[in-house]
Symmetry: C2
Subunit: 577 residues, 2 copies
Amino acid sequence: MTLRPLQRYLPVLDWGRGYGRSALTSDLIAAAIVTIMLIPQSLAYALLAGLPPETGLYASIAPIVLYAVFGTSRALAVGPVAVVSLMTAAAIGDVAEAGTAGYAAAALTLAALSGGMLLLMGVFRLGFLANFLSHPVIAGFITASGVLIAASQLRHILGIEAHGHTLPEILLSLAAHLPQANLATLAIGVAATGFLFWVRKGLKPLLRSLGLGPRLADIAARAGPVAAVAATTAAVWLGGLDASGVAIVGEVPQALPPLTVPAATPELIRALAIPALLISVIGFVESISVAQTLAAKKRQRIDPDQELIGLGAANLGAALTGGFPVTGGFSRSVVNYDAGAETPAAGAFTAAGLAIAALALTPLIHYLPKATLAATIIVAVLSLVDFSILRRAWGYSKADFSAVAATILLTLGFGVEAGVSAGVILSVALFLYKTSRPHIAEVGLVPGTQHFRNINRHKVLTDPGLLTIRIDESLYFANARYLEDFLLDRIVADPALRDVVLMCSAVNEIDMSALESLEAINARLADMGLTLHLSEVKGPVMDRLQRTHFLDALTGKVFLSQYDAYRRLAGRVRAAE
Amino acid sequence: MTLRPLQRYLPVLDWGRGYGRSALTSDLIAAAIVTIMLIPQSLAYALLAGLPPETGLYASIAPIVLYAVFGTSRALAVGPVAVVSLMTAAAIGDVAEAGTAGYAAAALTLAALSGGMLLLMGVFRLGFLANFLSHPVIAGFITASGVLIAASQLRHILGIEAHGHTLPEILLSLAAHLPQANLATLAIGVAATGFLFWVRKGLKPLLRSLGLGPRLADIAARAGPVAAVAATTAAVWLGGLDASGVAIVGEVPQALPPLTVPAATPELIRALAIPALLISVIGFVESISVAQTLAAKKRQRIDPDQELIGLGAANLGAALTGGFPVTGGFSRSVVNYDAGAETPAAGAFTAAGLAIAALALTPLIHYLPKATLAATIIVAVLSLVDFSILRRAWGYSKADFSAVAATILLTLGFGVEAGVSAGVILSVALFLYKTSRPHIAEVGLVPGTQHFRNINRHKVLTDPGLLTIRIDESLYFANARYLEDFLLDRIVADPALRDVVLMCSAVNEIDMSALESLEAINARLADMGLTLHLSEVKGPVMDRLQRTHFLDALTGKVFLSQYDAYRRLAGRVRAAE
């Protein structure tokens, strides 16, 4: 990169210089569309996190602006998202009672911790750590989280109390409180859910068939939640349904985001550190996937380490303005992109729109039923639920299947933190296990060529006094002894052998443990009267071996090609016979 | 393996059938020599573990017999060893006061836990787990342990009290108590240490120059500790030095090993579980290295999983007969082998010899000064200390150096458990880091051949519209995004490109995450108007890809060889120009 340091840390300097009227128009239109979509979504995710509705708006204002300054994606929209809101509820539910001041304060601390971690990871360029979340683990985690979220929102549809952060807890709690279900709430909830599903599946084709353009039809379909909010709010207000027990949003302060200072007691930090780390990594992975997908469409590039800084700033902003942990969301970013946003300024305009909403529109949502918000959450997250990942993983690789299955089961049964941790640990452990038992083939010469192939798969020439082994993996400490065992087992069983060749064409590295294993193999073969040779050693591996005494101690030779080795050694045995 | 199951679990059935007079004679001679060497060594390691001296003898009797029944090595001698005794002291020092009944009871529990874990690992064939201890980590750990052990024994040489499980603790404690040093003890300790060093370095050459055969000279040199024990015991007894403050072994019960039942309270098990696991793994690694070295010399094979069962049985035996954790020791096994032991029966005879010693000889060691035992420990462990591993690792690979340095520093500074755990975690982390950033080369055609080499190292032919990338690593979740980033960065910078080829000759596996990354790369290149091709995909990888929709979605082709790809694609671009 040839950018000056200031521009590296402040991408706004890059795109801000060329900002003109045409980009301004596009950005303003996109911002207006996104603002309308974000109002119900922000309120709903605050409900999911167990926080007052206005915190959802607050969490969308400062973070969007800060991301616009520090982030590298031109289309990413930052704010509360479903999975991170669920993780927030799980994390702070462990340290405070929902609805208390301590609960909201813990949400601020969680956002501050997460923001700090993301910033540090960005400054130390640790973005690669997110790569250890494998795709199957992420897919399993998102699916299981979607189920958990939908289950947790059923209480609002039924108008009952229910608690829990695991599927069995939630279902048992729902069953216990089912007799208290409120019929008016249920009617609103079911109607809203049904309407929103229809909007998602049926409205767009209908509008298209009525002659609307595809982009307009899409935008109209995305305004579905706003319509549901308006209709059910009006119904409750006009019908006085809040008096018959329909839970409503109620009084929402009519104000700009407050300035807040997150609590930083040692106990709170200790209790929230691991959840904050998991939220940071999961949020980063979700955000970067969206950002890269959108950037690739315009041949733009995302800098993952700078993205960490952008998301870190956004979370610190959320912590200082009464919000909760945020990240780049899929649906809002896609809407932003589709609506034609050209620069991060669109985000700043969206923030302005939401600030106006927080100042002026909150009285309008006094009678908004919580069941409607729950319905928007359920419809949104069920589109994330995709158990077909289990079938696909099973068909592709048993190791990937184990990682997905463990992630799903543990997330549902023991909560989001246990699920994602187990998924990461299991996939790393399976990878280490696989590389610790590499594919090792005994090879022979394909007649009429200079190629060597597996003796079990091909008709090849071999020599009774010569054993050639090809190792399909770099040699390192975890598989060094495996090679030793394999070789010695093979050799002890065959007293006719005189020469052993290790064909190293797929060995990209030999670490010190593997070097010592090779020395041991060499010495043990010498004890048995056998000679060890190497062939097709790669340049960098050879450079490193030449800095050691191994090549002096090697009883045999290093052959440039396996064919050279075969010609020399097979001939030697024949000559000796 | 075609053995019947009973013989697999009871190797004694295998070698026992052919046992005859010649093997009996060899085994008896070896047993006599090993017994003489083991008496002072067993007493010394009990002292190191903080236990009464007789427990060292007990820990050598039942375990040897049980290993003879279940183990697969013909020469391995099982009993207390230096590193495991140090780890025992560290582990039970945390749960009980040295010298109390609780301390000895905790040692039994530790041996029982370790035995149970080894047995389970053997039954579930988990011997491969020990491979995750890399050679540099083991070397660093042994060196640092040797320093810790030697430092911890200085208190016996000085005749003072001193405590601690880390080097700073031990040195500070020694310094604080230095004024109380006992001169008579110091004289004995220094004399014994000097004598034993001379025996090790100077006696054997002297005996050889006096005309003694090499084997006899070796055995005489190994009897050095016995001579030191006899001489210093006599000196204390005759000079009445115990009255002037020389600490002696004192009353030792004259009895066979007692039958003991290890305590199994939940708190004790919780406190000792991790130390027991570390002791099991370290002990297993030490033992199997010795066993394999000796077996290879006679073209015998060691079954690592059966070795776990043998060592597990030995440790359970130690727990039931008043001992402490044991493993196969290097020095005693080499003596056993050199003295001509042919079968595990030699071990059984050694056990009989030690039982006689426990019954009849313990009154003779009443006046044995602890300083002499400390001297034998110091001389034995200093031969294990080898800081040159640091220099060798530095010269070979910085990753290996980091692992060794961290292991040594943390072992010395924070104790054996912290040291070995940090070493394992760091080496796994470094391996994961390395594979997460694989070597990726842009390649071109070497003129006049069909070979493709790195464009930065060789003069090769390339085509402005064609980019060929060779990845020198299997593709898996941790490096999937790295490839994506590398490719997209490279492509965004070069608007002339039309075709991209991934050359997969060193890709031994593509996991599901990497498959999804390839799908994303394919889709993003398509968004940019570029075509993606693969070349030289290995058979098993291709089989797996064919079970997916990837090959249908691939915008380009899969070429059997990179040369085919170049011929077709470079031509296509030229034709289009």
